[in-house]
Assembly symmetry: C2
Homo-oligomer: 521 residues x 2
């Protein structure tokens, strides 16, 4: 048996040299920083290999949603929405509910925007929402901050919000920043909305999601955004802030004021997130299929609405069914049921060919502890594997969306990195199958793969290394005085916040904004 | 529009009565304990909706493994193994390596055991390994115990092992107990192997996996097992302990002594786990596809071996590729790469129609912290979704398999419960789509689903509630003095260990065992 002779002669020296290199060669290889596009994980990688619903099941959910829209319909649309939707073909019943025929829904699906770009202010972090491309980011809206020191919950502030934005700007695996918390120290709602935009935009150049608490605030918000962009035409060309619209009060009622705000946003050129946040067992059926069917129906109604106001306007299909602990009636976001609600939603977005988003990665735990880790990973990785375009609430969120934690956001970057590695999946080709390497290593070779050219060549581009996650041996760990994950996250936070924001406004723009708006930062 | 009249008259009163029930009705519903088979999650639920490999990719991995077996083959088989495998059709080369033709592998696959039952001692926890049925349990072998008090790593002992078995016996979502740690306080290896069996069997009636450190120990081990069973015929009829055989030293070498031990186990009627534990980047190619291809080749060789000794003997296809941190050369088990290695392995088991197992749920973290939570969930849920029959290392394992933690095992039960809920998936039928409920609730109904008959009827059988995981609001949490997850796990451990073992031997059997063997417990 002379299989060993099959080995090309040229390879022997390569192996020999890298063998003699060993650890030094690995050190040299990892010292060479990778270009951005060579990183092992990227925003917008394609998921979709996990399919909790069969084609027939998706069809049944779709049919249920169509029946619900035709027979139950939605109540409480504002007069302007009724006018637009009736003009588009919806029927207003004596009971005040708008009902939608199959034909109207199908026409809407045909004309709806199928590919949404969520722009970044710097042009470096634009997100392309299409197919099964996956992006992770924060979302709202917590009303508390979690201070690890003393394990305290306190009211969240504008500074907390700015800090979250600034921290997110430094984290590779946080791809967008939807405002994660409410600035409760600002009592005037208009000022709160405007300062929310200021605090987020001055913290990150990544895409931002915001929200308006009143329709009348949108005009001033757009004014600020147009100033930041350098003119309305520039903002409209690359809207780097989108609006999150809780346009329904499930089950099957429009949120009147939010709908009015949405109309203003559409007219101002803002992409909108059609957010239907139901709770399975309270504001939607307790079953996963039923909750998805209802939220799909609601978002289809929202899509009719958007396209009635402005055909083809960029809208994200935001089916956000949440879980509920039926023992207590309290919201629960960290369960396996939640992960299924979200992954099933992602498949329905793909069923329609629409850019979509849902919530994953939030925890019921009050602190970034082991429970938080398993809850955040469960839904985050399943959302990614299911090919969800926008994974909202992916980092930092605790207490069933009531509390946000900066240190958890930082750790979430590590967690999401591993989830993204899973989304990237398994490459199978001659190189990765590595039969030649097996031959070389086993037949007269070193008997191990450490330091082979193939191993060294792939050590940076195949593997996601944690930033704060610890992989030391117990011995090294003890020698380092048993480093604590949370203490390290606190230190990272302090270091990030000690630096000036990379997204801060130029002095003249900042002065102009402060002259026009009452900025509380 | 009179859709409201579609509602069957009979339902209105039902809704009305459950509405008036509210919280009291929920309390009553959850007070009624569910029968075992009504629990929302079960051992052996069917996964497989996550498929990281396409059919063509599996075929390529298979072809690569076949080529590796034909051209590279395996070294270091013991004389008895060479004799058996050559008799079965393998070729012994001048280089001492056994090589396997495609025909031999195909013949072996045809005659191999396709459905393995792993028996429990009590008959209540038998595991059926077939199809994409998923079971979670512990595995080995840590050499340290993690004491949360003082965050200390210390040598693991026989008592620790017994305690782990006893704790596992009380946890619904730990389906089997492969010995998770080494009893380092027993210096004699034969005594260690025998006491390992005693400590595990006296702690749990669930299926146990053990391991022998020397071929000569198997006979005495079987003697003990036959005594516990009440006779050799009884043990052979329901072998409640299987043997974990690290039968290869990757890459592509048999572990000579372990193979000899395996032969003894086969002859004694013990099911075997054909365990190929390679490290991608050290003892296997660094690529996921390459590591899977090599471990598949090794396990196919092992399968030839088992079936050459005893055709159709129950064997678990144990492709256990582990990850490696290429920066340091240290083993890493908590990464996204690990989850993919395991999920891809599961698909290869299904490709061959063989009962299989792999490792998931272990952490690189030294403690049960947030990192441990995300690492354990990532691979556990992906293993389940991929339909892995035996998820080994699923709970309690830290420091890249060097440390075991009882409190983490207890928390792992919660974690695995949520993973299992994901495996159960989404049911889609008329009941779960709940269109009738939507009509009732929305059209003149209460406008919410809390307390409907459907919601109450499903609150126990659809939902997995955590045992220690906390879902309180920040307010409740503060009122309860901010309960700590780990402190609660410690308390649970103390309570479990304060009770006598439910699996303890009858006094006469125990006395007989102690007369025959030197028991250190």
């Amino acid at each position: 048996m002379t299989d060993i002779t099959r080995k090309p002669a040229g390879r022997a020296s390569g192996r020999s040299s890298s063998r003699s290199g060993g650890r030094a060669a690995r050190v040299a290889a990892r010292a060479a920083a990778l270009a951005e596009d060579q990183r092992p994980i990227q925003p917008g990688m394609t998921g979709g290999l996990y399919r909790p619903l069969s084609d027939a099941q998706m069809q049944r959910i779709h049919e249920t949603a169509l029946t619900a829209l035709a027979e139950i319909g939605l109540a409480d649309a504002p007069p302007s929405g009724i006018e637009a939707m009736v003009a588009a073909g919806a029927t207003l019943g004596d009971d005040g509910r708008l009902r939608y025929s199959r034909a109207l829904v199908e026409d809407t699906l045909a004309k709806a925007c199928k590919e949404v770009t969520l722009y970044s202010r710097d042009g470096q972090h634009d997100l392309n929402l299409s197919g099964q491309r996956v992006h992770y980011g924060t979302a709202g809206a917590a009303v508390h901050m979690v201070d690890l020191d003393g394990r305290n919950y306190r009211d969240s502030t504008l500074q907390d919000l700015h800090d979250a934005s600034k921290i997110s700007n430094t984290l590779d695996n946080i791809h967008f920043v939807q405002r994660p918390m409410v600035a409760r120290d600002i009592t005037d709602n208009l000022e709160m909305d405007l300062n929310t935009i200021y605090a987020c935009c001055s913290g990150t150049t990544k895409h931002i999601g915001t929200s308006f608490s009143d329709p009348s605030h949108v005009a001033r918000g757009l004014e600020m955004l147009n100033m930041i962009a350098g003119g309305e035409d520039k903002y409209r060309a690359r809207p780097f802030v989108s609006n999150s619209n809780c346009f329904v009060v499930p089950p099957m009622k429009f949120a009147t004021e939010s709908c009015e705000a949405m109309e203003h946003c559409i007219r101002g050129g803002m992409p909108v997130l059609l957010l239907s946040a139901c709770m399975a067992g309270a504001t939607a059926p307790s079953t996963i299929a039923g909750a998805i069917a209802q939220t799909v129906a609601e978002c289809l109604a929202g899509l009719v609405y958007v396209n009635a106001v402005q055909p083809g306007h960029p809208a994200i299909f935001g089916t956000w069914p949440f879980g509920l602990d039926l023992r207590t009636g309290a919201m629960s976001v960290g369960s396996g049921e939640q992960a299924l609600l979200t992954a099933g939603s992602a498949q329905m977005h793909q069923f329609y060919g629409l850019p979509g988003g849902a919530a994953a990665g939030a925890s019921d735990s009050k602190l970034p502890d082991m429970q938080a880790g398993w809850e955040q990973m469960c839904s985050n990785v399943m959302a990614g594997l299911s090919g969800l375009n926008m994974v909202y609430e992916a980092a930092g969120m605790h207490a069933s969306l009531l509390g946000f934690c900066h240190e958890s956001l930082i750790l979430g970057d590590d967690l999401i990195g591993q989830a993204q590695r899973c989304v990237r999946g398994i490459e199978v080709d001659d190189d990765t199958l590595a039969l030649d390497q097996m031959r070389e290593v086993c037949l007269g070779g070193p008997g191990h793969y450490l330091g082979t050219d193939a191993t060294l060549g792939r050590m940076q581009k195949d593997h996601v290394y944690p930033s704060l996650g610890d992989r030391t041996s117990p011995k090294e760990w003890e020698e380092k005085d048993k480093p604590d994950l949370l203490a390290n996250a606190v230190a990272r936070k302090v270091a990030i916040l000690a630096q000036p924001s990379e997204a801060r406004f130029a002095p003249d723009l900042d002065a102009a904004l402060r002259a026009q708006f009452k900025i509380h930062l």
